[in-house]
């Protein structure tokens, strides 16, 4: 604790912090514990069992939906990362162009737009388009991917944009000065430097897609139900221990992924700290 803060105050502060963490984690822990409960009832402990995992892995509907969700999330993350990176380049590198205000508005709006409005709007667009040009036919993986890209692209843009803005612009100028053409500069210098942000953006888009219920509910059809829609319809009917098992698997996967990411970040941090200090350049 820094100067000026007494022991009691620090204790109170950390007490509140623990409370916040407890609030965040107790439900997840409870779910994990009950995924191993043989009993269907929440309040009754019927003994340790893997039964719900077994049932989950035999549920064709859930498995199909999970496979679809993975495909959608992968396609979405890839397209959103490409488009979002381009958008970030536009926002950071092209200072002035016609329609800049509209562009920044369209990037920022999906970040806060209630999903239910985006979902409704997307569906109405697809219906109107199908009427007008005959595409897309019905609700399919295509419509889900388009809708997901539209809202996750903004998140990618924000992540990449901040990294790009932090990047020393003279690095690109130096590469050009040494004879590299603009496209090559982007591929050889800019992309490797902002690569961590691209990865973060990709993961974010992947997560947003695989997690989305509301927008998917509008743009998915009977033939193409992603996992959250299937879970949602199960959950609306009440508690289902299968879902506990599914949740535990998700948490385990995310936990492992985060642990790896954290380790990578930590080791990079250490690298940076070895950096010798240099007096910062004065502005010209």
């Amino acid at each position: 604790m820094s100067t000026g803060w007494g022991r009691n105050r620090a204790l109170a502060l950390y007490g509140l912090l623990s409370l916040a963490y407890a609030f965040l984690y107790v439900p997840i822990v409870v779910m994990i514990i009950y995924s191993f409960n043989a009993s269907r009832l929440v309040t009754v402990w019927g003994g340790f069992s893997f039964k719900w995992y077994g049932e989950l892995l035999q549920d064709e509907k859930v498995l199909d939906a999970a496979w679809l969700s993975l495909q959608v999330a992968f396609a979405n993350a890839t397209i959103a990362t490409i488009l979002g990176t381009l958008a970030a380049v536009v926002l950071v590198r092209f200072r002035r162009f016609r329609g800049r205000t509209l562009f920044t508005g369209m990037i920022a709006a999906p970040l806060v737009m209630p999903e239910i409005i985006t979902g409704l709007a997307m569906l109405l667009l697809f219906v109107a388009m199908e009427q007008a040009i005959g595409w897309p036919q019905g609700r399919s993986m295509t419509t889900i991917v388009i809708a997901h890209v539209t809202f996750s692209l903004s998140f990618v843009t924000v992540v990449v944009q901040s990294r790009l803005a932090q990047m020393d612009a003279s690095l690109e100028e130096a590469a050009m000065d040494l004879g590299a053409r603009p496209a090559k500069v982007f591929l050889v210098i800019t992309l490797p430097i902002i690569a961590p942000a691209l990865l973060a953006g990709w993961l974010l888009a992947f997560t947003l897609s695989i997690d989305d219920v509301v927008i998917s509910a509008f743009v998915s059809g009977p033939g193409a139900s992603p996992l959250p829609i299937v879970i949602f319809s199960k959950v609306r009917l009440g508690v289902s221990p299968e879902i506990n098992a599914l949740a535990t698997i998700v948490v385990a996967l995310v936990g492992v992924a985060m642990a790896i990411a954290g380790r990578v970040m930590l080791s990079r941090d250490r690298d940076e700290r070895h950096r010798p200090t240099v007096t910062s350049p004065q502005p010209v």
């Binding site: 000026g4 920044t104 369209m106 539209t150």
Partner: protein, 302 residues
Amino acid sequence: MTALDRAVRRWGRLLVGLPPYAWLVVFFLVPFLIVIKISLSQAIMGIPPYTPLLEWGEDAVLTIRIALGSFGTLFGDELYAFAYLNSLRLAAIATFCCLLLGYPAAYAIARSSHSVRNLLLLLVALPFWTSFLIRVYAWIGILKTEGLLNGLLLWLGVIDTPLQILETDLAVLIGMVYSYLPFMVLPLFATLEKMDMSLLEAAADLGCRPFQAFISVTLPLSMPGIVAGSLLVFIPAVGEFVIPDLLGGPDTLMIGKILWAEFFDNRDWPVASAVAVAMLVLLVVPVMIFQRLQGQATEGTR
């Protein structure tokens, strides 16, 4: 050669800018215009289930038919007004609770040593990376009448009969605070971390007691984080659907639920669109503030 080169550069810019721009116009801007259009038409049985706004008559006369009926329904039935107000109320309370819980948490993280800070941050962000739906669902098991919380309270002897928490506004609030807490903590942390600690030392040196220093230095300086975090919680909370649907009861009226019901259950697309338009109007001011902040932030990092 030079003219060609300049042309290449111009086309290069276009090549970079056009895909995201076109995508957003076609899939984000146009849909909103369509929502507005449909909100001004009438519901009919058919595919699509609404009347066209523009119609070319037989003798090439353009007919514009604007039906304000959907908005009439909205203003006529006080159910809608109540749902709007209730959404605003619940979102505001949830935002305030997030701030109350999130500020000390963000403060503690920002003041923690470097070695644990990353871990603490990771722990705040971790739930976000797991499924939102599943996390909301987890509360059903905890809050329902024969659920864990009631079981615990009964066992402790605090209550004699189980409390009805699930299917009330309280459950919706708990769900919202729980789901949106990370969105409050992260921007708060970002501003608090940037704050120069020597400012507090200067305040103390000038005779300010710690609490006064917090009120007169820390709090004003963290205002951007407070505003950003509050908007990130408030705006989506107003339009929330999953939480009131799973944790709320039949009398939990929220605007997202109404929209859903109009669209999926009543198949009244014009009224659903009108509800969406009205929600947008309601959110226009907070969204504008958020965009301003976002713009300032990006200008600042340049």
